[in-house]
Each structure stands twice: as structure tokens, then as C-alpha cells.
Amino acid sequence: MNLLYDNRTLLLAGLGTTLQIAVVTLIASIVIGVTLGVIIGMTEGHWVRRPIRGAVELLRAVPLIVNVYFVFFVAPQLGIALSPYMAAVVSLSLWGGANATEIVRGGLQAVPRHQRRSARALGLQEWEVFLLILLPQAMRSVLPALAGLMTLLIQSTATASLVGVPEFLQISRLIVERTTVMDGIDPSFGVYGFVLLIYFVLCSPLTALSRALERRLARQAGRPVAEDAAQQAAALPALS
């Protein structure tokens, strides 16, 4: 495909932006998810949980694209002017963070109650129980789901094109439109075929990793925790 080769600089730049958004939002999502998941996990029956759970539910319930539009178009009215890139990163991070929170919370909840009890019976302090006993067990069951979330985040970066971020999909669309207008030929098949292939190449290893982690977990544990994590991964909302 000459067309792809001629536009390689543009496409690479777009791909770079896509990957950059994916990595930044992934890191932000994990930071948000671990922080909020831990807060929810540690504050049983406390009022702090309510606003956090409310926000998580809201973000998970709303189509991602609505979330992106909301941040991009509403934030300026509140006096926060965000570039398209920042709006995409913020809304994707909030969405990913909400999902990661749910994953971490689920992982902590899947640790049997007797673990905390027996750790306390040994005279461990509350933070030691949490950090040394509960969190490591939760993180193990959470890893496959987080790998799954990574796949979803890469896919979701495509929504950034809707607010005009020059990421991979947006660049590709521009190339298609420009060629159609300028040269009178429609290169959709070749260009979008290429786009499809690239997303597949990016995401399928992550999906495979998620499955491998799940299998390893099931082998090691042989207890219900493994199933919970697998269900967690499966229960992530589909993208709109």
C-alpha cells in the first residue's frame, strides 16, 4: 500500500499519540483504582465509601463517549479549559479508574474473611494485616482483570478522535477523507483494514496475557478467588 507508506510519518505520530494516551490513562487508572479500592476496602460501614461508590457507579454506567463529551464541552464552562488531548486523557482516566476501583474492591472482597481474623490473632497491626496479608492476595486475583482493563483502555483511546485528538484512528480517517476528495478514490478498505490489524496486534497479546494470568491463578490457588477474578474481567462493561 503506497498510500500507507507515503503517510507513514503521520500514521506513526498518530499511533504514538494513541499509545501515549493508553499508557498515561492506564497509569492514572491504576493509581486511582488502587487508592479508591483500598479506601473502600478499609472503611467498611464508613460514610466515605458512599461518594466513592456513587462516582464509580456513575462512571461505569454512562457510555464512555458521553463522559468524553461531558469533560470536553462542560469543563470549559466551569472555567477549566482542556485541550482535546487533556480532555481525552482525563475522561479515559476517570472511566478506567472507576473500573480499576471496582476490580480492586472485588479482589479485596474475594480474600476470605478468616485471613484478616487470623492475621489479627497473631498480633499484627491493622495496616500490616492490610498491606502484608490482604492486599498481596487481592492483587494476585486482580492482575488478570487489570490486564483486561489495559486492552479496553487501548480500544477506548479511539474515542479521543471524537473530540479531535490526532490519534491513530483520527489520522487514518483524515487520510481516507483527503484521498477520497483529492484523488477521487476511496481507500477505506486498505486504510481501515490496516487500522483494524494494528489494534488487533496491540490488544491480542494483552488478552492472551490476561488469560494466562487467569490460568496461572487458577492453578496456584484452586480456590474460588480465581473464579471471582475471571468473572471480574468478564464483567467489565462493553464499550459503546
Binding site: P112, R117, S118, A119, R120, A121, G123, Q125, E126
Partner: protein
């Protein structure tokens, strides 16, 4: 009054959120070097009683003294110190699955500063050898059978060098074949002079090892005394019924 009991509880009362009275004015003493078996039907409050003795359950009312020191109910910071001296073994072993057997045993003693790592490792290996599991020191709990895990749970509690050990139905989750291994370990711990309170359905253990038997029902202590005397000649109909029920199970 000579020496203060290792643990003394007076007037313990505990009502669960659902209105069930788990403990109804219970008095309980555990003297140093004594082995007490606590039996009773399920829901009798026996597990709640021993969990109250190391603060994992908080009674609504009553008084608990440990080695003569009164421990305020619900004061977590003080109970955390108590738990270093009053170990506990659970029905479901509750080993930490992400740590090796050895790490399970040394984590708490080292973190609480009761001993240095090398000393803790040495003690743990000695204890494991004593229960025939030295070869499993670096195995994960999942690689062990239920009986092996429970033996590790017992020596994990011993690795803290506690003064008292509480057992909450330590053999109830085990296969009949492995129960004996665990009972033997408990017996040898008792012979070494450990102060023990054991909630159990194993009347054989109660009869042969325990110095005293406490029978609970409906959150109260119904009868207590020398195990053989109680088991052979129950004074109350409740205990007679309970024993008959247990034998015909």
C-alpha cells in the same frame, strides 16, 4: 488467692445484631498450665467465648483480666498486645496462601519484635520438625493437606511463644484420618505445659487431655468439672442429651 489466673472473665455478655444472645453472663477462668475443653451444641456461644478472650470478639458487657491485668473491652491497641501472648488456632487453619510455610510462621514474631529473623527461622524449623513437617518449610500452604495445614497453624501460633493458646474447633474441618495427627500435636503441646482452652467436639481429647471440661448451651455455662466425671455422670439433662446426641451422630 495465690497466683492470678492466666485469663479470667466475669459476666461476659454478647448479643449479636440479629438479637441472638451468644453470651449470657458467662464466667470463665483459665489457670496457668491448665487445659480446658469447652463443648456444647452449635450456637451455644463457645466460639464467641474464646474469641472474646483475645479480643477478636468484643463482648457488650463484662470484665476480662489477663494475668491479673484488666483489659478494657474493645480497646484494640491493648488487645493487640494481648494477642501476642494469647495465640489462637482456627477451624479453617487460615494460613496465608501467598507466603511459604516458614514465612507464615516467622512473619508475626519478627514484625512484633519478639525475636530476630535468624532466631525466628530457627525456632520455626524446630517446631516444624517436631510436627514432622520440616520438609515442607518452603512449600506453599496449598501444597499441604488439611491436617498438615492445621499442624502448621498450631506451630505458627507457637512461634510467637505465647503464654496461652486458644483453639476454636481445630479438627472440625478435617478428614477423620488426619484428625489424630492434629490431636497428637495438641496433646504434646499440652504435655509441655501450655495453657490451653480448646473448643472441640472431640470428647476423647476432652477426657484424656483436658484438666477441666466446660459445657455451654444457649450462651451459658451449664456444667463444668473434671472431664471424666462430667462425661460419665452428667448432672444436667442438657449435658446428658448433648452427649447422647454426639455419640449417636
Amino acid at each position: 488467692m495465690t497466683e492470678a489466673p492466666a485469663i479470667s472473665a466475669r459476666g461476659l455478655r454478647r448479643v449479636f445484631g440479629n438479637g441472638v444472645v451468644a453470651l449470657d453472663d458467662v464466667d470463665f477462668d483459665l489457670h496457668r498450665g491448665e487445659v480446658v475443653s469447652i463443648v456444647g451444641p452449635s450456637g451455644s456461644g463457645k466460639s464467641t467465648l474464646i474469641a472474646s478472650l483475645n479480643g477478636l470478639e468484643t463482648p457488650d458487657a463484662g470484665e476480662i483480666t489477663i494475668a491479673g491485668e484488666r483489659i478494657p473491652l474493645g480497646r484494640e491497641r491493648v488487645w493487640r498486645r494481648v494477642r501476642q501472648e494469647v495465640g489462637m488456632v482456627f477451624q479453617d487453619y487460615a494460613l496465608f496462601p501467598h507466603l511459604s510455610v516458614l514465612q507464615n510462621m516467622t512473619l508475626a514474631p519478627v514484625r512484633r519484635g519478639r525475636m530476630r529473623r535468624a532466631e525466628a527461622d530457627g525456632l520455626a524449623m524446630d517446631l516444624l520438625a517436631r510436627v514432622g513437617l520440616a520438609a515442607k518449610a518452603h512449600a506453599r500452604p496449598i501444597e499441604l493437606s488439611g491436617g498438615q495445614q492445621q499442624r502448621v497453624a498450631i506451630v505458627r501460633a507457637l512461634a510467637m511463644r505465647p503464654k496461652v493458646l486458644l483453639f476454636d474447633e481445630p479438627t472440625s474441618a478435617l478428614d477423620p484420618e488426619t484428625i489424630r495427627d492434629v490431636l497428637e500435636v495438641m496433646q504434646s503441646v499440652a504435655r509441655d505445659g501450655m495453657t490451653m482452652a480448646v473448643v472441640t467436639h472431640e470428647l476423647g481429647f476432652a477426657r484424656e487431655i483436658a484438666d477441666r471440661l466446660v459445657f455451654m448451651a444457649d450462651g451459658r455455662v451449664i456444667e463444668e468439672g473434671r472431664p471424666a466425671a462430667l462425661l460419665d455422670n452428667p448432672r444436667t439433662q442438657r449435658l446428658a442429651d448433648f452427649l447422647r446426641h454426639l455419640l449417636h451422630r
